[in-house]
Amino acid sequence: MSGNMNINLKVWRQKNGKSQGKLVDYKVENVSPDMSFLEMFDVLNDRLINEGKDEPIAFDHDCREGICGSCSMYINGRPHGPNQGVTTCQLHMRSFKDNDTIVVEPWRSAAFPVIKDLATNRSAFDRIIASGGFISINTGNAQDANNLPIPKGDADDSFAAAACIGCGACVAACKNSSAMLFVSAKVSQLALLPQGAPERATRVLNMVAQMDAEGFGSCTNTGACEAECPKQISLTNIARLNREYYKAQLFSNEG
């Protein structure tokens, strides 16, 4: 290993959802600045296995290129660490200094229970999507894709909202554990497209109802979610969600 940094880690260890957890100290030596944050954990886990005393640290990760949304570490009090617009897997050790002490915890939210160590259960997000985050079209029914032109601006805004990777950093960042940024991203993506129009009202009502049922908190417009979102999903989506929601409540028959 060719690195020259020493890092002091305080990592949340928790056997499972039922047991108590605690912060455990680890020192990782010879860290290279080119390593990703997760690669530093690989090195530490390798050592833990070799030493045979402690089980390796469990954490969710997969693509390691910032798109799958699996990785989810709460680093020094911030989801995905100190840099803006990146996931944990795209955070590199060059963002830290020699001898830094780094505290690493799982996402904290009642709606995301801890499975083990740093891995949490985020299936609440899937259930919110299942409640309305789609367009009800069966395979084979579609018309030619260019029959319905969409203004470039709307398509671009829709895409910007659709960039959400469902990692849950917004919830972890929020003092109320609100999932509004996540929900608003999907509502906005589909509300901005003509294809999403037929179910516009039912979608927002059902998704918000499911969000509440999952135990996420309320939004108080603090903006921590936007600041910490690795895909920089904009707070204006929440404004759009609120507008869609009130409109649906006032004018639709679904309310």
Binding site: N16, D34, E65, G69, A119, A130, G140, D156
Partner: protein, 667 residues
Amino acid sequence: MSKIDSKIPAGDLETKWTKYKSSVPLVNPSNKRNLEIVVVGSGLAGSSAATSLAELGYKVKVFCFQDSPRRAHSIAAQGGINAAKNYQNDGDSVYRLFYDTIKGGDYRAREANVHRLAEVSSNIIDQAVASGVPFAREYGGLLSNRSFGGTQVQRTFYAAGQTGQQLLLGAYSGLQRQIGLGNVQMFARHEMLEVVNIDGKCRGIIARDLVSGKLERHFGHAVLLCTGGYGNVFYLSTNAMACNVTAAWKAHKKGAYFANPCYTQIHPTCIPVSGDHQSKLTLMSESLRNDGRIWVPKRKEDAEAIRNGKLNPNDLKEEDRDYYLERRYPAFGNLVPRDVASRAAKERCDAGFGVNKTGEAVYLDFAFNMKYKYGKQVATLKHISNPTEAQLTEFGHEVIKEKYGNLFDMYKQITGVNPYENPMMIYPAVHYTMGGLWVDYNLMTTVPGLYALGEANFSDHGANRLGASALMQGLADGYFVIPYTIGAYLANEISVKSISTDHEAFVEAEKNVQSTIEKLFAVKGTKPVDFFHKRLGKIIWDNCGMARNVEGLTKAISEIKALREEFWNDVRVTGEANDFNPELEKAGRVADFIELGELMCKDALERNESCGGHFREDHQTEEGEALRDDENFKNVSAWEFKETGNWDLHQEELVYENIKIAQRSYK
């Protein structure tokens, strides 16, 4: 060696699929409700198949090892998806997409499958747009296209550098809708560890709940494996960390033939390896080759000066640069297919012209097009007749940012270097596997009732896949092929009642899985799982990577056999079986990769020719291009598992009735 039947319907290529669809047996709606289908994997192929089948009325169960179906690795595909829409009026057609794909695959793919793929490609775009996928658009509101390698038309649809993400989330939202409606039962954080065959037919799976560690039995009248490719056999690849061959391999060991395992795709434009801590490699989308020009210095001393940090590449004069792809392949230039571009990069680096510390990198340079293509365009729009160089750069910068912004950001994150100011450094890396489970025209493996879709099968890309065709194939298989072809099998299953999972075949299969897990823990060796995975990867990369030869492959096979012994004698698997245990998951996957690695080398050794991604040094033209042997190898190699380290070879002859096969040329 026996021949196998691909069940390609008779008739003209152009009408085969249409006629087949109209004649394939149907299952009536009330019977569909009683038929259960197990889908393993939730990527593009799995999600689209599960959704479409559930819409038809089948009872569907979906399994994925990730914490949510939305995280399947299809999500990481960057550049785009092909379709023969001809929206650009540049002469595209179903035939051209078909032709390009067969030629791109170096004449080692099935005509009938590829033509069907080209036919349904248009429907995929329609379907995706209708389900809310926000593709890139022009100011007039219509869809935008760009070019990918191995083609001379613009047929690639895209959503910035996040096309896979948008398509997968589109398919996932459809899947979630079916879950909400109760038509699909979802099992996330579940890994399939065995298939269950009863009376010669596949009837279900054994899966491990990755949170509790418990083994579960699930019955299905049919089982669909949509479990992706096996690129992680190389350890370092652009695949996600947990991508694996286990589901396909378990099926292989239960009777499904494995086809063309040596056909692996090395992608030319990836971020080079930075150190031995590296856990994965990151792709820089092929779409970048629309505007990035690939070069190395013409003189070795300049390359050396760059490596030593004494020369800034931006200062090297135009005439001192070797744009080797433009030089060697003037007709396609920087947009030659991936296998060709990768070999050319290796050739320059092996000859001593590499540009990073390790000598294994070439430049992908945007400066020229940033200034003189886009900068000038914007200047003209702004009515600036005499723009300065600085203005051109500034204007071009904005356009490049819009087209490739997220890729440039990713590059900067990983390397710490700003690609707007310096040329990117890239090198080939393992990206995709064309080989996979052998399937017939219906996508059924050699085990009745067991299907393979998407990258998990072998069928459409021959020996080399063209860019932006993986997303197309995954969605074609799931949305538009399997909903029809599965009827051919299930129409005869309507009287089969659900089989109890207390059946002895389920009991037996679960016992086997249990004993493998116990065996892994029982080794109590000294080395972590990753240690073996890294060593396997190095053996395969060195001997069965971009260039292969008899000596290396023979050596690799004996090294892998020895590694297998060592693994089962010295691996250390920590933790417990009945617990959330990522180390145990990895151990099982690596054990399967080791067995597959041996078969890859064996297949590469048996195939005494070069084709596409399979480049045998003893079979090349004078110019260093792949030299096929059509007389002896115009076929698919399908391997039947006998016992560990022992296989029988079967062959499927490839017949080309509609394309005249020739030496592939991109000059």
